[in-house]
């Protein structure tokens, strides 16, 4: 993938994350304010397709955004470049996607 495409993907995923992180944090703050337990929270998210869609979008955006940024940091600070770095970042993206989707599914199917 061209560097310009990576740049575009990182900017676009950042735009999604800016909203998603805000919703995520505000939801946590509001949810625990009244003293809800984890079990009660899961009771409300289970079977809710809206939350599943939201967290799937969140996870996909994070899986795109983080490896591209990490790649830039590794280039600049560790001097790791070339195909080996790109392969490692692709694997990191896959790992984030896998773990994230598993968590999103767990919240839905609890």
């Amino acid at each position: 993938m061209s560097p310009a495409r990576l740049f575009l993907l990182q900017r676009a995923s950042a735009a999604v994350l800016a909203v998603a992180v805000l919703v995520h944090l505000v939801t946590i703050l509001v949810a625990v304010r009244g003293g809800l337990t984890a079990g009660e929270i899961l009771g409300r998210t289970a079977g809710n397709l809206g939350w599943l869609a939201f967290y799937v979008l969140f996870v996909v955006a994070a899986s795109i955004h983080a490896p591209i940024g990490l790649r830039a940091i590794l280039r600049e600070w560790a001097g790791w470049r070339g195909w080996s770095c790109d392969v490692a970042m692709a694997l990191f993206a896959a790992l984030l996607l896998l773990l994230g989707l598993r968590a999103a599914w767990a919240v839905f199917a609890a």
Binding site: S2, P3, A4, F7, R11, A72, R75, E76, R81
Partner: protein, 238 residues
Amino acid sequence: MTDMLSVAVHRGTGGVRFDRFEVPRRPAQTVLDVVTWIQREADPTLAYRFACRVGMCGSCAMTVNGRPRWTCRTRVETVAPDGRLTLEPLRNMPVVKDLVVDMAPFFAKWVRAKGVFTPRADLGADFAVVPPASPARAAADAAVECIGCGVCYAACDVVAWEPDYLGPAALNRAWTLVNDVRDGGQDARLAAVAGDAGCRACHSHGSCTRHCPKALSPTASIAGLKRAVLRAALHGGA
């Protein structure tokens, strides 16, 4: 104001040896005047570079008391009120000797950034009319007065961290050409500046803009290139 300046000057290539000179202080004295005095009156083996002495040629830039500056237009009183000067070569470029750096890698990056005007094939024989008030001309105007002194390049931390990075001067030049409606080499230029060592590597620290003696803003030019690269990527280019 003391009568004499105490000037430490980098010697050789290693960044280790500094010679100290006592230089008579004069009204309206520039840092370049100081270096010239040392070379003519104290140590003729001192190597430094200058040409125009009036802020046009961009050849006399050095590190003065830790900051990159054009020495011909830098008054001693503004940078050394206590009468102490430390002069070093510009950062981020190989040192040839004393205060002289090899600017070849710096200008090679202008070429890599496609900083060369490439006329459009369909321009015709007549002069191309570029309205001065058009947005593209105004954007080019804001960046076009670069004298290639290398001060921004020496001030840039990203260049120090990533030697491949094209740097603020080359990217600023590319931005003037991106806004040149007569230029036909835009696809190749955007592809060149879109790379990992291109505009994307800029951290927007603003050191280039802070130090540019011509008061240009390479930071703004690089931001413009980022927008242009994103637009091109959206349309399937770059």
